[in-house]
C-alpha cells in the first residue's frame, strides 16, 4: 500500500476529505456570522442554535410531515430564516442603539433557550437522519472511497458560499450591504431603507445556518447540543479569517477543516486544539485576522 511519511494514502485522503467536509460547515457558518456582524455589529451567539434548529426542523419535518430531504433543504432555511427575522424585529432592534455587547448577550440567551427547550422535549442523545436515497452509496476513486452524500455536501456548501460571495461583492444589493456595513447612517441619508436591510441580512445569515443544519443532518447526529460545540470552533475560524471579510470567512473555514484533518492523521492528540493554536498565532501576528483590515 502506498504511504506518505508512513501514513497509508487511503487514511490520509480519508481524513483530508473529512476535514474538507468539516471545513465546508465552518465556511457556511462563519460566512453567516461574518455577514451578520458586518451590518449589525452583533456577534450572533445564537448561530449554533439556529444551525441546530435547521437540522431539527428537517428531522421533525420528515417524521411528522413527511417533508423529504430536498424540500427540507429549501423550506427549512426559509422557516428558520423567518424566525431570525422575528428575532431581529422584536428583540435585536430594540437594543441596537446601545452597546453591541447586549446583542451578544441576547443571542446567547436565545441559544440557551432554544437548546434547553429541545433538550427538555427530545433529550440529548440525538437521532439520525437518513441519507436521501439518490445520494446513498459512493464512488471508489481508486485511492479512496468517496461517499456520494459527502461529495454532495461539499459541492452544495461551496455553491452556496460562492453564490453569497457573488451577491455581496458583485451586485447592487451587495453594494448596499457593503456600504451599509461601513456607514449605515449615510446610506439612510441617501434614501436606502437600512432598517429593512438589517432585518433581511439577519434573516439571511440565520437561513444560511439553517441550510448548513439540513446539510449536516444526514452526517452528524441530530441533537439539541450539536450547534454549541461546533460554534466555538466557528468563532475561532472567524477570528482567524478576520471579522467582516466574506471571502476570508469561506477560505479560512475550508483551510481550518483541512488543517484539522491533517492533524488527525499526523498527531491525533492535537486535532481538537489545533484550530485554537492557529488562532493564537494569528492573533499574535495579525490581530485583525488573515483577511481583516487593520483597524
Amino acid at each position: 500500500m502506498t504511504t506518505i511519511f508512513g501514513i497509508p494514502l487511503m487514511v490520509l485522503f480519508g481524513q483530508l476529505l473529512l476535514g474538507l467536509i468539516n471545513g465546508a460547515f465552518y465556511a457556511l457558518l462563519s460566512l453567516g456570522l461574518a455577514v451578520i456582524f458586518g451590518l449589525l455589529k452583533v456577534i450572533n451567539f445564537a448561530h449554533g442554535a439556529q444551525y441546530m434548529l435547521g437540522a431539527f426542523a428537517a428531522l421533525l419535518g420528515l417524521e411528522y410531515l413527511g417533508l423529504d430531504y430536498w424540500l427540507a433543504l429549501l423550506v427549512v432555511p426559509l422557516v428558520v430564516g423567518a424566525l431570525g427575522i422575528l428575532i431581529e424585529r422584536l428583540l435585536l432592534r430594540r437594543i441596537q442603539h446601545i452597546d453591541h455587547l447586549y446583542g451578544l448577550l441576547l443571542t446567547f440567551g436565545l441559544a440557551l433557550i432554544f437548546e434547553g427547550t429541545l433538550v427538555n422535549l427530545f433529550g440529548v442523545s440525538g437521532s439520525s437522519y437518513p441519507v436521501p436515497e439518490v445520494l446513498a452509496g459512493g464512488f471508489n476513486l481508486g485511492f479512496m472511497f468517496l461517499p456520494t452524500y459527502r461529495a454532495w455536501v461539499l459541492v452544495a456548501a461551496l455553491v452556496v458560499c460562492l453564490f453569497t460571495w457573488f451577491m455581496i461583492e458583485r451586485t447592487r444589493l451587495g453594494a448596499y450591504l457593503r456600504a451599509g456595513t461601513e456607514n449605515p447612517k449615510l446610506m439612510q441619508a441617501f434614501g436606502v431603507n437600512v432598517p429593512l436591510l438589517v432585518t433581511l441580512t439577519y434573516g439571511f445569515g440565520v437561513a444560511l445556518a439553517a441550510f448548513a443544519g439540513v446539510l449536516a443532518a444526514p452526517i452528524y447526529p441530530v441533537s439539541p447540543t450539536m450547534g454549541s460545540s461546533l460554534l466555538i470552533v466557528v468563532f475561532a475560524v472567524v477570528v482567524i479569517g478576520g471579522m467582516g471579510s466574506i471571502l476570508g470567512a469561506i477560505l479560512t473555514g475550508l483551510a481550518m477543516g483541512l488543517i484539522e484533518g491533517l492533524t488527525k492523521v499526523f498527531y491525533p492528540e492535537a486535532a481538537n486544539t489545533v484550530i485554537f493554536l492557529v488562532m493564537i498565532v494569528v492573533l499574535l501576528l495579525r490581530p485583525a485576522g488573515l483577511f481583516g483590515k487593520e483597524a
Partner: protein, 249 residues
C-alpha cells in the same frame, strides 16, 4: 453679544410657495447635549444660501437635523411644502434632498463607479453618468479605483458627484472646500455655478468665506446654535467687516 437682526427682503418672503426649505424654531440634541436652540431660515427654489459661522456654531448639526440624523429634534422643517419632522431618515432623500457630509463619506470598500451608482435615484431628471464624468473628468479616469485610494480632492468631487445622479434638487453641502488645494476649490466653485444654472437649490455650510461670497444669494450667520444674522449678497460689501468680526477670520 449685540445683534442687529435685519432681514432684507423679509416682507415678500412670508410662507412663499417657492420656498424649497423652511426651517422654524429648530432644536436638535445629541444625547443630553442641546446643540440647536431655535434655528430659523428658509431657502427658495434655485437659491444658493450659505450657513456661515465658527466651528461649533451648529452649522453641521443644522444639516444633520434636516436629514434626521440627530438623536432628537423639534420645531418644523418643511421641505418642498411637506413637514418632515416625523419623516424617517430614508424618506428624506426621496423628497429630493442630496446630502454631502463633512467627512465626505466615501465608501472605502466600493470603487469610484460603485460609489457613484450607490445612492438610489430619488427623482427623475438627475445627471447621467456621462454628464457626471464630463463634469468631473478625474473621476472617469479613476472609475475603477477603490474609494480609499482617492486623494482628498477626488473624494470631495465624488461625494458631490454621487448626489447629482439621484435627481435631488436640494443639495446640502457641508464644508466641501475644507483642506483642499486652491485649484480644486476653484473647480468646485465652477461646479456650483453650473449647478445653480441648472436650477438646483443649494445650502452650503462653509468656512471659506472668500469661496462662498461670490456664489451665494444670501448668507446666514450662525452662533451658539442660532441664526444671528441674514445678509443678502447685495449688501455684503458694507457688512464684510462686521462679518469678519463674527467669524473671526
Amino acid at each position: 453679544m449685540t445683534t442687529t437682526l435685519e432681514q432684507p427682503g423679509a416682507a415678500n418672503r412670508a410662507s412663499n410657495a417657492s420656498e424649497q426649505l423652511k426651517v422654524r424654531d429648530l432644536h436638535a440634541f445629541y444625547g443630553e447635549s442641546h446643540i440647536l436652540h431655535g434655528v430659523d431660515f428658509e431657502v427658495r427654489k434655485g437659491e444658493l444660501v450659505t450657513l456661515l459661522g465658527r466651528n461649533g456654531a451648529g452649522r453641521t448639526t443644522t444639516l444633520r437635523a434636516i436629514m434626521n440624523m440627530v438623536d432628537r429634534r423639534s420645531g418644523s422643517i418643511v421641505i418642498d411644502g411637506r413637514e418632515t419632522l416625523n419623516t424617517p431618515p430614508h424618506h428624506i432623500a426621496r423628497l429630493g434632498v442630496g446630502y454631502c457630509p463633512e467627512e465626505r463619506g466615501i465608501f472605502a470598500s466600493l470603487n469610484v463607479e460603485e460609489n457613484l451608482l450607490l445612492p438610489p435615484t430619488v427623482r427623475s431628471g438627475g445627471m447621467s453618468l456621462d454628464d457626471i464624468y464630463a463634469m468631473f473628468p478625474n473621476l472617469y479616469e479613476r472609475r475603477r479605483s477603490p474609494g480609499m485610494r482617492l486623494s482628498g480632492g477626488e473624494q470631495q468631487m465624488l461625494a458631490m458627484a454621487r448626489i447629482l445622479r439621484t435627481g435631488a434638487d436640494l443639495l446640502l453641502l457641508d464644508e466641501i472646500t475644507e483642506g483642499l488645494a486652491p485649484v480644486i476649490v476653484q473647480a468646485l466653485g465652477e461646479v456650483l455655478v453650473t449647478l445653480k444654472a441648472r436650477g438646483m437649490t443649494v445650502v452650503l455650510v462653509e468656512q471659506n468665506f472668500r469661496f462662498a461670497a461670490p456664489l451665494a444669494d444670501r448668507h446666514y450667520v450662525m452662533e451658539h446654535g442660532r441664526i444671528i444674522e441674514e445678509i443678502s449678497a447685495d449688501v455684503l460689501p458694507e457688512r464684510r467687516e462686521r462679518l469678519h468680526a463674527v467669524l473671526g477670520v
